[in-house]
Amino acid sequence: MGRLLEVKNLRTQFKTFDGIVKAVDGVSFYLDEKEIIGIVGESGCGKSVTQLSIMQLINRPGKIVGGEVWFEGKDLLKYKQHGPEMRSIRGGKIAMIFQEPMTSLNPVLTLGYQLAESLILHLKMSKEEARKRAIELLGMVGIPSPEDRIDDYPHQFSGGMRQRVMIAMALACNPKILIADEPTTSLDVTTQAQLLELMVDMVHKFNSSLILVTHNLGVVARYAQRIYIMYAGRIVEEGTCKEIFKRPRHPYTKGLLRSVPRLDVEGERLIPIEGLPPRLTDLPDQCAFLPRCPYKTEKCSTSPMPELRSVPGEGHKIRCYVDIPEVDYATV
């Protein structure tokens, strides 16, 4: 499998009245061909900003202040935000599905028009070709009688159907990379399952790769091969899905896994992570998880933010000085 995307040391900040929000602070990750990776973390940890930075969709007061985004031999961050290169990549080779489908569909244009528009722009199709393909795509994502629905407006569709259209639209130009940012969280559980299944099927069918952004550990466990756990603007743990769920080595990951009730486990008492996530405006120089960490040592409070370091296991890395004792894994 070839390397498709490599993000290196990405840093994105927002200037606010409370100070500078270091929303993404040195994030590196990669994505291989035909791979599904998960980016997991709690609200506000920088998942969306990371993805938006890749697409250069960061606007004032936000700014990408450093890093590289390597895709097909080019560093995308070298391109101008509104230049022709980024315009053709966005929605072309890299497509994104956003959390709230209504905000990314134009309410005054028919769905057919919006679908065809990107086919004409990116694939240089004729109007007729584009319309035919659009109908085909709507059918593929499970919209019944697509030839009748193609001239409908977004408000005539239910939330689940709109999200199907978003999937169709994202895949219209056969992208290399699909970024799905919490694509289904506003929908019902059974609809969520339906759509995730559809999206993963389509990604396989199109030989694309998928970045699945979510706070739902279950979704990642179900679909991703590798995962990145984010906390306070940084990646704190990365590795294969199997490995991380079995042997989480960062105290935050371990805490997360122990704090969610599981359908398949009888109700033992949950072990919550105490305290609150930090504010991104006044992050300590030390590890950002330090105040909540049950494993902290003297070294943690006197040393700077730990770097990512390799631990046993395929590609397994953590941003932590501590090695969680072996016996503790029995209780995960």
Binding site: E42, S43, S158, G160, M161, D188, V189, T190, T191, Q192, A193, Q194, E197, H215, N216, L217, G218, V219, V220, A221, R222, C241, K242, F245, K246, G255, L256, L257, S259, V260, P261, R262, L263, D264, E266, G267, R269, L270, I271, P272, I273, E274, L276, P277
Partner: protein, 330 residues
């Protein structure tokens, strides 16, 4: 837990709540949303009943009928043996004391102009449960401690608290009037994953530690959470209960096709378990409650439906001990 009839705190019989849809100047009724359409269950003291189901299936409406924020269209609600379904508004005050609610959104459910102390203490004043200023202060302080908030924070305003802390304030307020029943409507859905467990544990501790055996109705769409906290679970679909049983039985032996799909839709945070799990994906979408299908509400999406299912509404029946299901095919 003794099974005597006296132990039942709350019993709901054939509860219906239909909202009229009106149009135009004269508010002509053009349709009815059958938000809740014939629900029955009984709750024993100290028990937690989980209500799960997808958006719009009527969970919140059930909660609001029981706490009498709504006047039900029909049906009976027995609280400690007395039917409260038709009690007129002005006689509801003592009831409000006994049945309180915790809401989903910790951001909008607290009055932003009131400080945390008076939000929590208000029910005690309304129901005249304190005799002096000192007693009031003492009780508010105690409530703060119970829910794990620093009592020094009583003078702060809601916007100064995090989501999890606000939910604690909401819980303290719900406890203030010393209720028998608390209806928790999606109390953790809006919270970060790492904070959810703190609140779930708090709710469970309150039940086991207090002298009073609190009874909960716990509403959520997250089946993992509901399964964790409940003694029994009612699965709702389009205004009706389709299955009602213990969490263990529901997980190990789900009978209703909708329950099976709901269970399989919830992924488990364990890749090895996921690899071997069967997935049942329902076709189509939840029908609108404005135009519910005839017969069984699920029949158009159901993998085992027969023509009969489109004609007959399946009744909820007990098919093994403490396991109720509403399906013609079971």
């Amino acid at each position: 837990m003794p099974q005597s009839k006296n132990d039942v705190v709350l019993e709901v019989k054939d509860l219906k709540m239909h909202f009229p849809i009106t149009r135009g100047l004269f508010r002509k009724v053009v349709g009815m949303v059958k938000a809740v359409d014939g629900i029955s269950f009984a709750l024993k003291r100290g028990e937690t009943l989980g209500l799960v189901g997808e958006s719009g299936c009527g969970k919140t409406t059930v909660g609001r009928c029981i706490s009498r924020l709504y006047q039900p269209t029909s049906g009976e609600i027995y609280f400690k043996g007395k039917n409260i379904a038709d009690v007129p508004e002005k006689e509801l005050k003592p009831l409000r004391r006994n049945i309180s609610m915790i809401f989903q959104d910790p951001y909008s459910s607290l009055d932003p102009r009131q400080n945390a102390g008076s939000i929590v203490g208000e029910p005690m004043v309304v129901h005249r449960l304190v005799k002096s200023r000192d007693e009031y202060k003492e009780k508010v302080k105690h409530l703060f401690e119970i829910v794990g908030l620093n009592p020094e924070l009583t003078t702060r305003y809601p916007h100064e608290f995090s989501g999890g802390q606000r939910q604690r304030i909401g819980i303290a307020r719900a406890l203030a009037a010393d209720p028998d029943v608390i209806i928790c409507d999606e109390p953790v859905s809006a919270l970060d994953v790492s904070i959810q467990a703190q609140i779930i544990n708090l709710l469970m501790d309150l039940k086991s530690e207090g002298e009073k055996r609190l009874t909960y109705i716990f509403i959520a769409h997250d089946l993992s959470v509901v399964k964790h906290i409940s003694d029994r679970i009612a699965v709702m679909y389009l205004g009706r209960i389709v299955e009602l049983t213990t969490p263990r039985e529901l997980y190990n032996n789900p009978l209703h096709p909708y329950t099976q799909a709901l269970l399989s839709a919830v992924p488990v945070p364990d890749p090895e378990v996921e690899e071997n799990r069967e997935r049942i994906i329902l076709e189509g979408e939840v029908p609108s409650p404005l135009f519910p299908p005839n017969g069984c509400a699920l029949h158009q999406r159901c993998p085992i439906a027969t023509p009969e299912c489109s004609k007959t509404v399946p009744p909820l029946r007990e098919c093994s001990e403490d396991h109720w299901v509403a399906c013609l095919r079971i």
